[in-house]
Amino acid sequence: MTWLLGLPTPQEILNLGVRIITSRTFLEIVFFPGFLNIMLSAAFLTWLERKVIARVQLRIGPLYAGMWGILQPIADGVKLMFKEMIFPELADAKLLMLCALGLMLLAAAPVVPIPFGDGLVIANMDIGLIYVFAVISLFPSVILLIGWGSNSKYSFLGGLRSLFQQVGYEIPMWLSVLGIVMLTGTLNLGKIVEAQQKLWFVVPQVLGFAVFFTAVLAELERTPFDLPEAEPELVMGWMTELSGVAFMVGFLAMYTKLYVMSAMITTLFLGGWLGPAILPQPVWFLLKTFLVASAVVIIRGTFPRVRIDILLRTAWTRLLLLAFANVFVTAGLIWLGLGGIWRV
């Protein structure tokens, strides 16, 4: 019985638990830059999108749940949770649910290295930029798996289109941020934000910003590049056969991705948490992020959809050449000795 004496007492376990729960890392993971933040923001974005699209189309939008209908996402969530999950007869229901879960895990992962304030970041990664790109490039594979698992032609076509879309947008998206890496000499997102203290990167990297924003629209599968779920052609694209709570999780994952990518645009080009000291840093960050997200939503309300061959052609000619032009312009800036402004 002597080995029992070596075990921690209940008091010690309790103390350890309290220390973990009150530690800064735990609070960051569970609350502010972490889980609760992205869930609430994604829910808020669904409401924002409905309101903004309603204004664009001269409607009012959700009105009854809470003030200005702000509780509408919660009402939708409760409704979807109690709905029947209908899967087609030949579909792989377990695979679909696992893929919805996987989409959510993937959509949440890029938030880890994004700084929401000075030092307010879950993990201060030195390769944050590469990490974010690596994670978001896994999306089309999962979407194709959903399309295949649904065993429905619309879903499968949507999945294939998602894959081709990635072939189009990914290279311009990578190359458009190369200028920032050249100017700052780091892949750490926190240091990239600090480098913008004198001037935001949207000014010297305006070509890169244009290319990156366009590529992000394609990456998020938003209009004018929402081919994988083009409603008039493919019903709901790869989401056609998702239903009930699986649909809710998949849908929430797409809005989480919208939030995360808006945060990436803010971090890389719009100065992240930088701003006058009248507001706290995270407030500046969230303001900018939601402004970018609103711009994405307004574009959805105003532009028509393009064909997939036009998307691929544009990405491989105009976007790619503009991204290369941005690299050459940045090289010229550094050779002229102007790069010192953004060194960290």
Partner: protein, 120 residues
Amino acid sequence: MALDSWSLVAIFEIVVFLVIFPVLVFGWLMGAKGRNPIRDAPFESGQTRLGEARRRYMMQYYPYLIMFVAFDVVAMFLFTWGLAFSALPISQDYVFLVFLVVLVAPLAYALYLSGKPEFW
């Protein structure tokens, strides 16, 4: 107790999993159940289903896929070059920019050979 980045990513993913997975199970348990051959048919705009969806599809846009493989590898190397850009002397930057031109020129020539002015 300092955790490295990858442990933090793992902990974060576990937190997301611990919340989302019960939600899925809850929805599975609470939702109504019942099978009905008409309701279980995949949606094909009101038509009856024509065969399986898992069949051969035409692989379109193949040249883009080949270009993608080449450029994807190169793009990764460009990041390591970009990191060192300011530290390198101009002579070596210049050599790499020549490499970039060599990369873009065949692409431009291929698009020129396709003979379609709308490609530009």
